[in-house]
Amino acid sequence: MSQRYQAPFGPQGTSPIDPRLAEKLLGVALSKGGDYADLFFEYEVSGSYGYEEGILKSAGRGVSMGLGVRVRKGDATGYAYCEDFEVDAMERAARTAAQIADAGGKEPVGLAPLDTPKRYHVELYSLDVAGELKRDLLRRADEAARAADPRVSRVEASISESLREILVATSDGTMVHDIQPLIRFGIRVIAEQNGKRQAGSSGGGGRMGLEYFDQRSPEWHAKEAVRQALTMLDAREAPAGEMEVVLAPGDSGILLHEAVGHGLEADFNRKKTSNYTDQIGQRVASDLCTVVDDATLASSRGSVNVDDEGNVPQSTMLIEKGILRGYMQDRQSTEFFGGRPTGNGRRESFKSHPMPRMTNTMLLAGQDDPEEIVKSVKKGVFARKFGGGQVDISNGDFVFSLTEGYLIEDGKITAPLKGVNLIGNGPDVMRKVVMLGSDMELSDGIWTCGKEGQSVPVGVACPTVKISGMTVGGTQVG
């Protein structure tokens, strides 16, 4: 594939990093007595296109590149980075990171290149496609939204694209290169009626090129955003208090991501700060629940061929029929817990040290008919679209906010509700999963996960889920 933007350090770059130079830098990093060191070379190009008021109003491009050097001595980490690939600058970064240790010295193992699986199916990198094509896709979205309904008063559509080229070299002998494409489309509309205004939005993407729009056209997203805004014009105040909740398939996986995902990242369990600490082999959810973190899904936003520490992630079993089986690990936690690395060591960029992070977190399908699930609820809330969530991993309390939800009355979905927050406690809510649909869906790539100031793209998946009791943060008491 031709590539307009190429990392200077990559195999086709202007100054490819050869293993000898990487070994030399690792040697400098370990010269003060570190136990382990790695180099993380990164070159990321991103593009953005914003369409508003019927024109392509803004377009932007960015290049960010550098080398992050990490040195570990016991549980302590030294980290430094530089933003150019001159040997002097790279050696300086290695020396700075080396300072975490203060005695002895270690030799790095000779580097052996590692092959990776091919999980991103890309015909042509979006960044290599003429801008006019992207402008045209946005124009189609804009026109479809305006044509959908006279109450639509504003439309904003955007495409962001990026290409992240990485090279990881470790003092225990791994050297691996990957090119990670990512595309994300979004549309937001505002509808007005009788002095009321509401917004609706839709979006998606993944690790692919513009062929994304063959599966989900700009028009499809436009209609979906308009549908949501018009629905919300009629939204009423939501009830307040504990009640049954049914989650629609797909993006509802946000609940998992917050309720169990973060709490099962191994760093929190190594430090015993997670409420799931020391519970391997114990029941942490109802026996309907099997949860995996799967980095192999073709072209999903959360998938990677290799993590940012040079390990190839697979599908990791976290909870099997309600029993806690494992954590998401990075190198440091794997050393602590033993076993095989799960390949969950990810970082936002060369400016950040890796941590255990999720990829695609999935609650696997159950046996129930989704329609029967709704029918079984006398009074409750049906959750369809979400704004995001957050968790306190120490006590397991988590929230997620609804941007589109409905009342369920006597087994039927009725009135749309104003946006509300739902709050629950992870282990408590997971035990209250009483029905699970056969209709598992993966989120269309829109989610970004934040942890300790670092953002990484992720996916979530789940079927229709019934929770027997959760606190709904509406305004209507009684």
């Binding site: 109003k57 302590a76 150019d84 709050i423 943060g473 509406g474």
Partner: protein, 464 residues
Amino acid sequence: MTRESWDATQSRLIALGERIVDMAKKSGADVAEAVIGEGSHLSAKVRMREPELVEEAGSRSVGLRVMIGQQVAVSTTSDLSERGIRRFVEDAIELARLSQPDPSAGPPDSSLLSRREQHVELDLHDDRVDSIDGASAIGHAKRAESAALEYDARITNSEGASFSRASGARALVTSGGFRGVSRGTYASLSVHPVADDTTEGQGGKKRSGYYWTAKRHYAGLLPDDVVGREAARRTLAKLGARKVETQECAVVFDPDVARSILGLIAGCIGGGAIWRKSSYLVDRVGTKVASDLVSIVDDPLIAQAPGSRAYDGEGLLSRRNVVIEKGELKTYLLDTYSARKLGLESTASAARGGSGGVSPTTTNFVLQPGTTSPEDIVRSTKKGLYVTEMMGFGFNAVTGDFSRGAAGFWIENGEKTFPVSEVTISLNLDQMLQRIDMVGTDLDLRTSIASPTFRISAMTLAGK
């Protein structure tokens, strides 16, 4: 390495900005505005008295906004090699040709630009912050964490203590003739102790709390042990937290969460949200949007404050803007573009991101202190929730609907009683501000959006 003098740094950054602007003009740009940023930071983290992380680096990047006629594009790069800069300018020009003419686009009128001699010295930089090394940062974090661990035997664990320092310089050079350079430092220390909750019915939950101090000047930081002990006290106070019944009640916001309510207001009075009709405050200037006790000022000219600046992201001279006066909305915060869209004048509120893009922003956005002490606010509350933490993103700026997770303490007959968690508080922001019936005296400018304690007379609390 000897450190470059500040004069030399200013000249170097301005020269690079001028070179980029010239290159863009030669490549066909009618308007070119370059922003150059460089900085260095160090952060050290200690956990259970042992060093966990020391991170140190310097970084640089350049951003560029160009216009060809009224077609706009932005570009940014951290590749400052000759080839990297050339490509970054070419990218901006290529994208400007792709975008379409926007009738409101254009730089501010040159007559409005400030001159360097008009830029007030705001004392935002402290050499002492710059000189803190890894060992000293580790020392601060260790002392703070130890104070927390020694405070009480029930503090059994820790998510660590972190000490960070950052320092940065930014230059803005525009083809309209503006030249400006600013610099600033910031140091912070935070401690996160953890306690096991052995209270009946808590099933192995842990409770984590935290406390922090942050200032632009080293001397303004709270002592390490004070931060550690306060973090421990806050953590222990959460033991045994429980849900309460669903009800309507008064809600008192601790300054740390009051700030985030101010942040929501900030998002709703920016010119971009207004012309896009994406704020519930559209068409509300000159009307009552809050109770008489509410006055909010955006003031970029406070010495040593985190959000201060002498000029805005387009080069206009900074000025104090009264946004809400005794409940009445006086103005939106506008950059040149949103002012043009709304037929108004810029309030010198432009922010220019590192990537070259411009949008309105707040500087030091502050709810003016009232006359009641925070203790008296609690004392005069018969029953209600004192909120110390909020969770989630439950806010719709278009309608003002607000619903968030909350934790804190139950107030009964003017006393904080047991800790509360796993509840939500909900109401429309418009009503929330109208129902503010007490504002505290306790304002701390640790952050650029700041508020004293305040009370909302009634909100919906959802719990059991």
